[in-house]
Symmetry: C2
Subunit: 333 residues, 2 copies
């Protein structure tokens, strides 16, 4: 029920997903009549065995704060979906609803993985050579060096799901590459990263390096990661908007302009966030994927693919193993 | 002598600038023979009265740290140019050299404006409706609420140079729009902004809002501003790179692809940083403009235009007045 478009983006994405993956099954949480009205009779009959509508009247609005969500909204579509994940009925949950509520309900209903100090939100973003996993995207602010170390370990596991590489290079987001730059926590984190045998530490990187492909995992405080991701989204939107408002006066130029805009749109989809939609909430006991609130049906479908990849790779279990290894190492020191 | 291209971007930009502004005069600091070799005989004779080459052998490399610069590099091209500004021989200095050295030498040679706690680096960036002034871009990290209040006052004066508007809306960059979001310093700054009669405070904004035009000045800690600006630059570069590597197989598509790339380049120049090149170092006694290190000749020319606008508006003096008013208000409380 979340996001700007609600079920109007989710339901078509589900139909497409089931058609693409014949072995997949979906549970769809929300008001039964509303969800049902968005499916054709033909879809209902052909997908009946694999698409289950789970009737929920309650929903979580954007105004709902995390505490209210945990106290009063466990029967919402979001709460019921997470409960199904906790009960092992499903292997991953995708939501484009209220982020704060999703994170709070995930922690409360699923619980955090043993040893995880603060679960983090992270996402694979496009680069010139492939992808890069950026975390935290805003679940936590005021992160300590120890928090950032856990993010690094979790980010490596998450990026392994998306990138087929052995040695993933890990970096810390900072104001410059030199060792003396940044806050004390960032510099302390650099020391922890350097001495961690499971981290192939590549040093500090700056904002633009997120997109060059020079590293595979970029770790930062949630305030920084949120600003980095949203600034990048903002400038892409600006570029699209500028492209559509420039008026070329001759009919000849207008004609080619239209064709060019089509190609530009195609290129934009290669780098814009919706193409890489689906942030993973790492550190809770289950695969929880946050889709962008403004997600189109296409973008929601991408988030479902991300969820499937995480479920197929059993990411939540891998994170549990990684955290257990880290715990063992820390207690051994 | 700074930036990736050094005098090869600066000298052509200077020639263009003098041709465009017949009343302008320039002093160019660097090794005389090198600078001279980049000018044609015709340029030398026609511009002789307005373009003065000031011979400096010493230069500041990217590796030089701010302390070294202040202690040992006052006779560098950068140091000599700032000294000319301090002496009133010039009205503004533009450099694409080492940022840390430029800021440290500016403070040391020019001095800070009375009452300014920490000078800040800020810049006008393109938006859907015009421009927005973002500061601090990385001169300061760990800013207090009081620092951010000064940045706001200075940002308003700087944006008035670029935007012809009476009431400029000022916002704080944060992780979300809700009042409870962000760090304690950001929330405390919000209280200071709200009670300041010279600030038309519009609340918290997120990264993408920098580019929508919903506000005119966005204030933040230097770490955040640096990450916001560099992430935006990175994704624009990525988009250009993706456009140039996508191969369309049919000759028909290749043909339109070429046309589209031309249009894309044109659009990119409207939003890319070089179009809005030139960050102002606000709070020192003089107009100091930092050009992007990767600036082309076109981009360096833009930074010179920014410098001219600041000099014409006597921005450094206006900042002095604004700070005096703020001081009077604070001491009155």
């Amino acid at each position: 029920m979340g996001g700007d478009l609600g079920p109007r983006s989710v339901v078509p994405a589900c139909v497409r997903f089931l058609q693409r993956f014949p072995g997949a099954e979906l549970k769809l949480f929300g008001p039964h009549d509303l969800l049902s009205s968005l499916l054709t009779e033909q879809q209902k009959s052909s997908l009946a065995t694999r698409l289950q509508l789970v009737d929920c009247e309650q929903e979580i609005t954007q105004e709902c704060n995390p505490i209210q969500a945990v106290r009063h909204k466990r029967d919402s579509s979001m709460g019921r979906a997470l409960q199904a994940l906790a009960d092992g009925q499903v292997q991953a949950v995708v939501s484009s609803g209220n982020t704060g509520a999703l994170l709070a309900l995930s922690r409360s209903i699923l619980g955090t993985i043993d040893g995880v100090r603060r679960p983090a939100l992270g996402k694979s973003v496009p680069t010139e050579r492939g992808s890069c996993f950026l975390l935290d995207l805003g679940a936590n602010i005021g992160c300590s060096a120890e928090d950032l170390l856990q993010f690094a370990r979790m980010g490596i596991e998450a990026q392994r799901v998306h990138a087929d590489k052995c040695e993933l290079k890990v970096a810390l987001l900072n104001i410059g590459a030199e060792a003396h730059k940044g806050t004390e926590e960032i510099r302390r984190a650099a020391e922890l990263f350097e001495s961690d045998p499971e981290i192939n530490y590549a040093g500090f990187v700056e904002g633009h390096d997120i997109f060059t492909g020079c590293v595979d995992v970029v770790v930062c405080d949630g305030l920084l990661g949120n600003v980095a991701m949203k600034s990048a989204e903002g400038v892409i939107r600006l570029m699209g908007q500028k492209a559509f408002t420039i008026e070329d006066k001759t009919p000849f130029k207008r004609f080619f302009g239209q064709l060019a805009i089509k190609l530009l749109r195609k290129w934009r989809t290669q780098v814009e966030p919706s193409r890489y939609n689906g942030a993973s909430f790492l550190g809770v006991k289950g695969n929880v994927i946050k889709s962008h609130g403004g997600a189109s049906s296409e973008a929601f479908y991408r988030a479902m693919i991300t969820a499937k990849e995480c479920a197929d790779a059993d990411l939540a279990a891998r994170l549990g193993d990684a955290m257990a290894r880290l715990q063992a190492r820390v207690s051994h020191q």
